[in-house]
């Protein structure tokens, strides 16, 4: 079987026909650990939504080879959940078992042990019966990572996982990301902290609606690319003309 990979094929994503991601072509290779970087409004979140299948392309497509569509886990930016919702930490983590349990399947004791082990990994040992709403922002982010651990997907899409997270939590969650990488999973994360990208992510995709650079981090994160990213307008042009660009195949 061919190596698992995700190919973006002239991918254009957007809202109301206005592109947020414009003619993006490239490949996320097997087991890659890629940071997606770029200014606000660059289309980074839109790209992750497009890969996860939450939004449909305006043009082009996302081609997955050797990866089932349900083998993709997605952590959205700042999940805004009701803090007073009556659910325990353990139940929140067990939501990650949905693909296996479905509507009627039992949450087996093995699944519960798995959830407990995941809580242990993110440093929340002993938190299982607490109400999810009683946690701090950082602790809750750890819970969401535990849920991703339980989901056990091959592709992990993380949208700004460390925004408003303290250093200690950040270190703990980066350790989880490295563990996924060591297991050969594919991790694609939107990250703003350039130093963090240099230190932890071997590949980088820099974008500002268009692709600015995609490859080894130390090559992509260069002054020319930062300059280029700044220059591309992130503006929404109300009366933009229809895009006639044809990408060479």
């Amino acid at each position: 079987m061919a190596d698992p990979m995700i190919q973006l094929d002239n991918l254009t994503l957007g809202y109301d026909r206005h592109p947020a991601v414009h003619h993006l072509t490239g490949t996320f290779q097997k087991g890659c650990l890629t940071a997606v970087s770029g200014p606000n409004g660059a289309g980074k979140s839109t790209l992750l939504k497009g890969i996860s299948g939450a939004i449909k392309p305006l043009e082009g497509g996302v081609r997955m080879t050797g990866i089932a569509s349900d083998d993709v886990a997605f952590l959205p930016q700042q999940a805004q959940l009701d803090v007073a919702f009556p659910i325990s930490v353990l139940d929140t983590v067990c939501m990650g078992h949905w693909r296996k349990s479905g509507l009627f399947g039992t949450i087996t004791s093995a699944m519960i042990s798995q959830a407990m082990a995941a809580l242990d990994v993110v440093g929340l040992n002993g938190f299982e019966s607490r109400p999810a709403g009683a946690l701090s922002r950082g602790q809750f982010q750890r819970v969401l990572f535990a849920r991703l651990l339980v989901q056990d997907a091959y592709v992990m899409l993380l949208d700004e996982p460390f925004t408003a997270i303290d250093e200690m939590t950040c270190e703990a969650l980066l350790a989880v990301i490295h563990q996924w990488h060591d297991q050969g999973r594919m991790v694609i994360a939107v990250i703003h902290d350039i130093a963090q990208i240099r230190q932890h992510f071997p590949q980088t995709l820099m974008m500002a609606r268009e692709c600015i650079g995609w490859g080894p981090t130390n090559e992509v994160l260069c002054d020319d690319n930062f300059q280029a990213a700044r220059e591309i307008s992130n503006g929404w042009v109300e009366d933009a003309a229809i895009c006639e660009r044809v990408e060479a195949a």
Binding site: S52, A54, D70, A73, F74, P76, A79, L81, D82, A84, F85, P86, I87, S88, T92, M95, G96, W98, R99, S101, L103, F104, P131, G133, R147, Q151
Partner: protein, 288 residues
Amino acid sequence: MVFSFGGLDLGGVELGRALAAATAISFSGAPLGVFLVLRRLSLSGDVYTHTLFPGVAIAFLIAGESVSAMIIGGLISGLLVAYLSGLVARITVLKEDASLAAFYMLSLAIGMVLLAGNDHAEELLHVLFGDVFSIDHTSLLVIAALSSATLFTLALVWRALVMESYDRVFFASVGGGGAATHMVFITLVILNLIIGATALGTIMAIGLMTIPGASARFWSRNLGVMVVVAITIALSASLAGLICAAYTGLPPGPTIILFAGAGYVASIIFGRFGGLISRYGKRPHLEA
């Protein structure tokens, strides 16, 4: 048959049927109320009651004062509006509340136009405002059957409903059927509004769902416990309200809701989680 309570005769078979109907409605409506509150749809419940109107009116014009016909008519128009507004919200720019707001006013207008000039429209009003003491045997069976079906369905979709209520983005990302779950839930709500309306009246029916649901939030941070608390409040209010109404001749629907309201006020004041005393009472803080 005469029911006696503490040596007092409280009424005949009518009170018995009323108590049975109210019990059934409390058991199925209160859990739905908990989810209405959690899904921030407490006010939409009131809107959905209005969507029953054209169907009930058409059923009334065709079949006269038949409770079963009106249940079916109300169900059809209620579901039609719920699905249409859900569809508009999903395929256009409008959000569910705006789309629903337009459709429910339309339903109300259609119902009123249909009934204009009808000499017997007053009889319909009597039905719309419900009379729990005039429930007949057939209606009671219909109410009991629909309540049981609601509880059964709720048990079936429970996991999906909890996940979709808590984190719909995640639920969608793992391939859960968010729209289907929402529609099953709204169908149950409409079904229970209808059976509640036959007993308590359309306006009061939503009260027996949302008031216990809102009160339950003050007593637990566990969903299962919240549901039990909500059922207990709904049941106590129904029984107390019915007995009080039978004694005093007050209208039963509003009396039941007033008792539920008393439970709500008590929950606001004494509730363990976020009640006034627990929030503002002077108690020393804990060590950690």
